[in-house]
C-alpha cells in the first residue's frame, strides 16, 4: 500500500517536472465566481479545456459567490508568482487594492464576462459579451425572417432591473425600431426561469385571443423560451410554426427544441471567454502587444439550419 502511494507520488512529481520543462507551460490563475448557473459551470469547463489545449497550467479557485474569497485567491496567485490572472469578478466594486498589488507584481489581469469599477489601467483587458448586441442580433433575425409581414411580438423579459434584461430589451428594440410591421404587443418579466416563462406565456396566450394574435416570441433567455414552448403546446398551438421563437444564451436544451422544430433561433452567449483571453495574453507576453480594453466575444446566431442536434451533442457535456 505504502509503496503504491509512493509510486503515485513519484509519478505526479515526474509529470510536474515534465510540465515545467515544457517551456511554454505558463501558470495562469483563474478565480471563478462559483457555479451558480449552468452557464457558469460551462465557462469553467471550457476554461480548463482551453488551458489544456494550450499547455497552460491553470490554477483554479472557486470563490463560492464571495468577493473576500476572490481577493484571497488573487493574493495567493500573486504570492505564487503566476504568469497571469483571469478573474470573473462577483461584484463590480472593491477591487482597487488587490488589482494594484497585481500590477506592482507585474502580473497581467484579464477580466472575464463581468466588469469592475476600477480604473482600466489596473487590468490588461476584459473579455465579455455585449448584451445590447445580443438583443440586436435576435431582433435582426426576426426582421429578416418576417420579411415585411405584419408581426405582433410578445416579450419575456429577464429579472426586472437586471442588466441583461435592460440591455437585451434595448438591443432588440433598436433592431426593430424602424420596422413598422413589427410591434411588441406584450412584455412581462419571466425572471429568467422556466416556470415563470411558462406561467407568463399562458397569460399572454389568453390575453391575445388564444395566441392567434401572436406571431413571435422574444425571450431574454432560453430557459424562459423552453417554458413558453410548453405553454404554447398545451394551448394546442405549434411553437416554431404558429408562433416564431427567438431567445438568447444557446443552452443545450434549446437545441433539442430547435431540432424538434419547436424553436427557431437562439443567440449564443459563449461560455468560451477564456479562449480570447488566453490569445490576448499570449500576444502580450510574446511581443508586448497591448490588446484593446474590451474584447467582445461573438454573439453567434443559431437557427434550425445549423444542425441543432449536433450542437446539442457538443454542448451537453459542458456542465450547462
Amino acid at each position: 500500500m505504502l509503496s503504491r502511494k509512493a509510486w503515485i507520488g513519484a509519478g505526479v512529481l515526474a509529470s510536474m517536472a515534465f510540465m515545467a520543462s515544457g517551456a511554454v507551460a505558463q501558470t495562469i490563475g483563474f478565480s471563478q465566481i462559483g457555479s451558480e448557473s449552468g452557464w457558469r459551470a460551462a465557462e469553467t469547463t471550457l476554461t480548463r479545456q482551453q488551458a489544456q489545449e494550450r499547455g497552460i497550467d491553470l490554477k483554479f479557485a472557486d470563490a463560492q459567490q464571495k468577493q473576500e474569497n476572490q481577493i484571497k485567491a488573487l493574493r495567493s496567485f500573486i504570492a505564487q508568482g503566476v504568469d497571469a490572472i483571469l478573474i470573473a469578478p462577483v461584484v463590480a466594486t472593491g477591487w482597487d487594492a488587490v488589482l494594484k498589488e497585481a500590477k506592482e507584481a507585474e502580473i497581467p489581469v484579464v477580466l472575464l464576462d463581468r466588469m469592475v469599477d476600477s480604473s482600466d489601467d489596473l487590468y490588461l483587458t476584459a473579455v465579455g459579451s455585449d448584451l445590447v448586441h445580443e438583443g440586436k442580433v435576435a431582433g435582426e433575425w426576426l426582421v429578416s425572417e418576417t420579411n415585411g409581414k405584419e408581426c405582433n411580438i410578445v416579450e419575456l423579459q429577464g429579472t426586472t432591473g437586471s442588466s441583461p434584461a435592460i440591455d437585451r430589451k434595448k438591443g432588440f428594440e433598436e433592431a426593430i425600431a424602424d420596422k413598422s410591421n413589427l410591434k411588441i404587443v406584450r412584455s412581462q418579466t419571466g425572471d429568467f426561469t422556466r416556470a415563470k416563462g411558462k406561467e407568463v406565456m399562458e397569460s399572454f396566450l389568453k390575453a391575445e385571443n388564444g395566441g392567434r394574435n401572436i406571431c413571435a416570441l422574444y425571450a431574454h433567455n432560453d430557459d424562459m423560451a423552453v417554458g413558453a414552448i410548453q405553454a404554447i403546446k398545451e394551448a394546442g398551438l405549434k411553437p416554431g410554426e404558429d408562433i416564431l421563437i427567438v431567445s438568447i444564451d444557446a443552452v443545450p436544451d434549446i437545441f433539442l427544441a430547435m431540432a424538434a422544430g419547436e424553436a427557431n433561433a437562439t443567440v449564443e452567449l459563449t461560455p468560451n471567454m477564456a479562449g480570447p483571453a488566453f490569445d490576448a495574453l499570449a500576444a502580450f507576453m510574446k511581443d508586448g502587444t497591448t490588446p484593446p480594453k474590451f474584447i467582445q466575444t461573438e454573439s453567434k446566431l443559431y437557427t434550425q439550419a445549423d444542425d441543432p442536434k449536433a450542437v446539442y451533442e457538443a454542448k451537453k457535456d459542458l456542465g450547462y
Binding site: S35, E36, S37, G38, A41, Q157, T160, G161, R186, S187, Q188, T189, D191, T193, R194, A195, K196, K198, E199, V200, E202, S203, F204, K206, A207, G210, D223, V226, G227, Q230, E234, A235, G236, D253, G319, Y320
Partner: protein, 341 residues
C-alpha cells in the same frame, strides 16, 4: 347557529375578497371568465389561476396546521426544491413512477421529521428551526441536480404536472383532493381541536393529556409532505428540476395565504378552506397583473397594494369598527323605543 352557517360565516370575508379581486380583473380584462376546451383540456384564465395556484395552495394546507400550533415553517420552499430534485434524478436514473414518487415523498417526510424534532424535542423556536432547512435545503437540492436544471422525459411524471383528468389539469385535482382529505381528517376527528389546543396553550394541553410532542412532529411532517407534493408538481410542470428557483419565496406566499385566510399567527383556531381561498386570492392577483399588461416594474407594487388593502380590511381595529357601526345602526331604533317608554 348550525355548523354549516357558522362555516359560511367564517369564510365570508375571504369569499368576498376573492370575488372582488376576480371582478376587478374582469373589468381590466373582459374575456377573463371565458372557459373553453382546447387540446383536450379546460382552457381559460380562471383555470390558470386554479392550476398555477396549486403549489401555494398545497403549501398553505400544511402551513395552516403548523401556524395553528403557533409555529411557522419557513423551509417549505426549499423542501419543494429538494423533492423536485429527488424526483427528477430518480426518473433520470430509470426508476419507475411509483418508486420515484415514494422516494420524493419519503424525502419530504424526512425533512418534516427533522423540523419536527428541532421544534418538538429540542424546543428550538419554529422560525429558527425551519430557517436552517430553508437555507441549507436549496444547497442540498443543488447538490442533487449538480447545479444544472435536471430535465427528464418520463411521461408518467410529466402527467402529474401538465396532464389532465376529464379535462381538468392534474395539479388542480391534486390540491383540491389534498385539501378535502386534510380538512376532513382534522374536522371529522378531534385532531383539529387538539392542534388548536397546542397553539393556544401547549402546557395546558400537555397537562390535559394531549401528546404535544408527537402531534407537533406530525404537523411539521404534514407540512413537508404538502411541500413534497408541490415540489413534484413544480418539477413535472416544467419537465425539469430547477434547484435555484423551484419554490423560491413560496414559503412567504403560503404564510400570506394563511394570513389572508384569517388564521392568526398566534396559533389556535384555523380554517383550511379559508387558507385555500387565500391562496387563490394571491394567485388571482398574480394572474390579473400578468393579464393587465402593466409594465413588469409595477408587478410587486400592485401586489403589495392589494395585499395591504385586504389585510387592513381584516385587521382587528377595522373589524371592530365595522361591528360597532353595525350595532349602532341596529340599536338606534331600539334606543328610540326606550326613550318613549
Amino acid at each position: 347557529m348550525s355548523a354549516a352557517s357558522r362555516f359560511l360565516r367564517r369564510i365570508t370575508p375571504q369569499l368576498v375578497t376573492l370575488a372582488a379581486v376576480l371582478a376587478s380583473i374582469a373589468i381590466v380584462f373582459p374575456g377573463f371568465f371565458e372557459i373553453s376546451i382546447a387540446n383536450g383540456r379546460l382552457y381559460g384564465s380562471a383555470i390558470d389561476i386554479l392550476n398555477r395556484g396549486a403549489p401555494v395552495a398545497l403549501l398553505a394546507i400544511g402551513m395552516t396546521l403548523v401556524i395553528a400550533t403557533k409555529g411557522i415553517d419557513l423551509s417549505v420552499g426549499a423542501v419543494m426544491a429538494i423533492c423536485g430534485a429527488v424526483a427528477a434524478s430518480a426518473v433520470d436514473r430509470g426508476m419507475g413512477l411509483v418508486p420515484t414518487l415514494a422516494l420524493a415523498i419519503g424525502t419530504g417526510l424526512a425533512c418534516g421529521l427533522w423540523n419536527g424534532i428541532l421544534v418538538a424535542v429540542l424546543k428550538i423556536q419554529p422560525i429558527v428551526a425551519t430557517l436552517i432547512l430553508m437555507v441549507a435545503g436549496r444547497g442540498i437540492a443543488q447538490l442533487i441536480t449538480e447545479g444544472a436544471i435536471l430535465t427528464f422525459r418520463h411521461e408518467g411524471l410529466i402527467f402529474i404536472g401538465s396532464g389532465t383528468f376529464l379535462t381538468v389539469p392534474m395539479p388542480v385535482l391534486i390540491w383540491l383532493f389534498t385539501g378535502v382529505i386534510v380538512a376532513l381528517v382534522v374536522r371529522r376527528t378531534a385532531l383539529g381541536m387538539l392542534i388548536e389546543a397546542i397553539g393556544i396553550n401547549p402546557r395546558a394541553s400537555m397537562l390535559a393529556g394531549v401528546n404535544t410532542r408527537v402531534l407537533l412532529i406530525a404537523v411539521y411532517m404534514a407540512s413537508s409532505l404538502c411541500a413534497a407534493i408541490a415540489g413534484i408538481i413544480a418539477a413535472a410542470d416544467i419537465r425539469g428540476a430547477d434547484a435555484n428557483n423551484a419554490g423560491l419565496w413560496l414559503e412567504l406566499d403560503a404564510i400570506l395565504a394563511v394570513v389572508i385566510g384569517g388564521t392568526s399567527l398566534l396559533g389556535g383556531r384555523f380554517s383550511i378552506v379559508a387558507s385555500l381561498i387565500g391562496a387563490m386570492i394571491i394567485q388571482a392577483v398574480n394572474t390579473g397583473i400578468l393579464l393587465s399588461g402593466f409594465p413588469p416594474e409595477f408587478n410587486l407594487v400592485i401586489k403589495a397594494g392589494i395585499v395591504l388593502v385586504i389585510l387592513v380590511l381584516q385587521s382587528p381595529t377595522v373589524q371592530s369598527a365595522f361591528i360597532y357601526f353595525r350595532r349602532n345602526k341596529q340599536s338606534s331604533p331600539a334606543d328610540a323605543k326606550t326613550v318613549v317608554q
